[in-house]
């Protein structure tokens, strides 16, 4: 029972960060119709940037986000402007291939700069634990959860009630009319992609404490993000956060209760089961 509670709590906390990963993907998909298969590798890159700031200046990942976020935003803008935009709107397969290419580029770049050995970027709160009843809560997980929800709410409010947010939604819903109302559709697309990647820099720092990193890990994050993204019905904010929690909990339960390999499969099994019965995702309307 305690173990179950432990798994639920941990899954909830980590899952909220997965939700954040998928929000970034949902934002970009909604505006540009692009599913970015380099998503997880941007997370990876964000982690290695934290690692670089740690080795160079002994900065804690929670501190170095101040630098990694703008770096990743700029990088996202450049990647969209010069790689994705020229072929956006062409065949879906081409765009997928391109983002896969970006993924490989990041992986190999990381390999060249940092080598293939797993490393870690330690954080000050990594070893902080709290005991609530019999449940152990890791400080880093608590931070991840609080920041993820705060960011999700911030993004939501931005989308709902600012001019920029309305412009983003207008481009999602009716790009031609948005352009006729003076919205620079191209700029909105670059901006949302950049924001999406910038969010990943934060998610990277949140997931980093205690996690060994290696250059090829990106795919794992991409796959988790895709699961959550599809589970959440692709553009619905609330459902995406919910999807993150479902996958996070499934992962935690799998790790605690099952043998290693089977446990790692559990999120996918649950995903398949949910998609069989609710192909439209967790919430009715998106």
């Amino acid at each position: 029972m305690d173990e179950l509670l432990q798994a639920l709590v941990q899954g909830f906390f980590v899952g909220s960060a997965y939700g954040l990963l998928a929000l970034g993907m949902g934002l970009v998909y909604g505006v540009s119709g692009i599913v970015n298969f380099a998503h997880g590798d941007f997370v990876s890159l964000g982690m290695y940037l934290c690692f670089a700031f740690f080795t160079a200046f002994a900065l804690d990942p929670y501190v170095s986000v101040v630098f990694t976020v703008p770096i990743m935003i700029a990088l996202g803008a450049l990647v969209y402007r010069f790689l994705i935009k020229p072929i956006a709107g062409r065949q879906l397969l081409m765009v997928i291939q391109l983002t896969l290419g970006v993924a490989l580029l990041i992986q190999n770049g990381l390999m060249m700069v940092f080598g293939g050995q797993p490393t870690r970027a330690p954080s000050m709160i990594e070893s902080k634990l709290f005991l609530v009843g019999d449940v152990v809560i890791r400080g880093a997980h608590l931070v991840a959860c609080v920041v993820s929800f705060a960011l999700a709410i911030l993004l939501y409010v931005m989308l709902q009630s600012t001019d920029t947010g309305r412009a983003i939604r207008a481009v999602q819903q009716e790009p031609r009319a948005a352009a006729l109302m003076g919205v620079d559709v191209g700029r909105v697309q670059v901006m949302t992609f950049a924001i999406g990647v910038g969010v990943l820099a934060i998610a990277a720092a949140l997931l980093l404490p205690g996690l060994p990193i290696q250059p090829t890990q990106g795919l794992r994050f991409t796959v988790i993000t895709l699961l959550v993204f599809v589970l959440g019905g692709m553009t619905n904010f609330v459902a995406i956060m919910l999807g993150g929690i479902v996958i996070g909990v499934a992962e935690a339960i799998g790790t605690i209760y099952m043998t290693h390999t089977l446990g790692q499969l559990l999120p996918y099994l649950i995903f398949v089961a949910i998609m069989l019965f609710r192909p439209q995702g967790l919430v009715w309307r998106s």
Binding site: R166, R169, A170, Q173, L180, M181, V183
Partner: protein, 234 residues
Amino acid sequence: MLEMQGVTAGYDGVPVLRDVSVNVARGELVGLLGANNAGKSTLINVVSGTVPIMSGRLMFEGEDISKTSAQDRVELGLVQVPEGRLVFPQMSVRENLLLGGYNRKARPARAGNMDHVISLFPRLGERLGQLAGTLSGGEQQMVAIGRGMMAGARVLMLDEPSLGLSPLFVQFIFEIIDKLHAEGMTILLVEQNLSLTVRHADRCYVLERGVVAVEGASAAVAEDPRTRAAYLGM
């Protein structure tokens, strides 16, 4: 106020409009008529800047705006209410209107423009919170026109606003157009409905396969046998 001078324009290097000259004076209501595929929508998209000009010039208040970006033209007050309305379906009526006032020039005037729109369309005032996608076609047309007014239109270009509406709504939309005209708004009205348009417009142009076939005062255009020919595609 708005002057299209010998414009040739089209898609992917293939001209749709050939050597078209159209002008609209301040405060005028000008009708742009023609059969399906005549190039009416293409013409106002050229004015909006979403279809590029191959040759010729587009002048607005004495300035050549042929190279001005689509966004900047909206700021100048050249605003299109597109064919098929194209409201933002998952946004409320209010948000649709607010987005109409997105451009930098229109933002400060939003509150006043919103009051004006609601005074013209009280029905929208009652439905500000409703998602635009759930409105009837006629109500969506009101949203589309209101959205264009919110953008601070100085020339309002309406692309077939009566398309697919019931006769009662068509009547209502034309009353609104008259009202805006009476308030001094400059209007370029694209229509297929000949008899209704000539009754409301000051002057009309008839497009036939990308060229201006007839132009002049509405009554004269209505009488002109070439108008009928253009419609029948003879």
